[in-house]
Symmetry: C2
Subunit: 311 residues, 2 copies
Amino acid sequence: MSQYVFGVDIGGTTVKMGLFESDGNLLDKWEIPTRTENSGEAILPDVAESIKAKMSEKNIAKDDVAGVGIGAPGPIDSEGVVHVAVNLGWGVFNVSETLSGLLDGMLVKAGNDANVAALGEMWKGGGQGYKNMVAVTLGTGVGGGIIINGEILSGAGGAAGEIGHIHVEDDEADFCGCKNQGCLEQYASATGVVRLAKRKLMGDEESILRDGELSAKAVFDAVKAGDKVAIWVAEQFGYYLGKGLSAIAAVVNPEAFVIGGGVSKAGEVLFEYIKPYYKKYVFHASRDVEFKLATLGNDAGIYGAAKMVLD
Amino acid sequence: MSQYVFGVDIGGTTVKMGLFESDGNLLDKWEIPTRTENSGEAILPDVAESIKAKMSEKNIAKDDVAGVGIGAPGPIDSEGVVHVAVNLGWGVFNVSETLSGLLDGMLVKAGNDANVAALGEMWKGGGQGYKNMVAVTLGTGVGGGIIINGEILSGAGGAAGEIGHIHVEDDEADFCGCKNQGCLEQYASATGVVRLAKRKLMGDEESILRDGELSAKAVFDAVKAGDKVAIWVAEQFGYYLGKGLSAIAAVVNPEAFVIGGGVSKAGEVLFEYIKPYYKKYVFHASRDVEFKLATLGNDAGIYGAAKMVLD
């Protein structure tokens, strides 16, 4: 069996890369810039070059590498075909085949970054021990990764797990980035939490949120301090997220939700606001689903990418 | 390769059974009563006896049978364990192993009836040509069966596809059979459509629905006749179902929805009411999902059960 595997997580500004042993031990990690100019044509050649350089540096032969896993921010189907990744400038092409060609035929497996990160959390993070789980990333947006029987659910066009765009509110004047109105992402992302707080602060209630910079972290810190405006925001956040997660549970009946992303740094206090609404709306067969915090942070993507190759 | 396979669909009052050739040709179908007394202990022995009788009648040897597939109304996980099937009186036990034991070790595969029916529609019904699809059964309740890469999605506890219990309305006074309020099933099932019509008819608007018996069929017939009350009901039905299906699409990104059950006898007119709301609420990557009518009717279960064995 090959000893090594590379995990690659392409972001809009940097590419995170990791060299792993096949048991999941992370030997080395590093980053290179993501060059998105000219339709992102340099991204995969840069990745290939960096992998080759690392192999040379560490005296690793091609036969000792099981392969390269790669996650990217866009819909990528189970064949490795990306269907437009706006942030990278990519159109439609086969990521796995292209990178494999640049690496002398090495095995390459590609997936959507949120889905790949979910696999990482299942393997070495907050989702260890679960084979059916949903990773929920509460960052700038709300992303999701769905794991069924230990494998990523990609969906027909690679757009499974787009849970930030579940419609949860009819009465919403603002538009989501996707151009719909009332998406879960508008309430449960870091941006959404700030938006809700700003709305509430347009009233004249006293709040420590009026001092200092408004952020999701500031909101949940204020919750812990008993601030009434912050608690109102947390209730709204919990209502929408609890309702959204209950819909997901009705569809895939997971064992666990693993919550990550910037907002999750608030910690288990989040669960106090999510769970009551989740339990109110969910079908009884999924009532006892576990709620866990993600633990790998920004490394979830490289772990999951490596795991894809090892499966 | 074995020539024959049995498909069994256990319902609350009758067990439907089919004898198939391995290419899916249905040679014979028949029914036996479902004996639910004494915790349904006679159901599987009755099924086994009926299969043996049919083999004897047709001079089929055990070696010529690939196996028996069985669907039942309750959560059944991927190992074949049922987790309480209220309508049959069943508690928790392994359906596959039990029936196999009664059939001298014959291969048996078991699944939830709605999921199994979905597989049937994919194989020989309205979902032919799709490997990622969601079957939606609009009957007394709203059931769902989710097919991913040609296989049933069971969920951790066998309760995946319980789409009738997606929460779609906060402002609902009536309770769903599951004891929640505002479940999709309360608006999009045959029962739900009648409930909506009754509500609207409490007003004094003229309607041909005031004559004759109220049923989902009567409502959609009245829609075709331009009845305003019926059209209001159809809009409500389409709003809730479109919203619910958009949530499902955000989670699993299917190629097609295949709509069956009693309400679907209204035909493609349903789609005129579902699609506008679906398209309004769905994430753009799933906007062009196909809507199809189921074609196998009550036989979907036996087809799907047979297909489980052949996979």
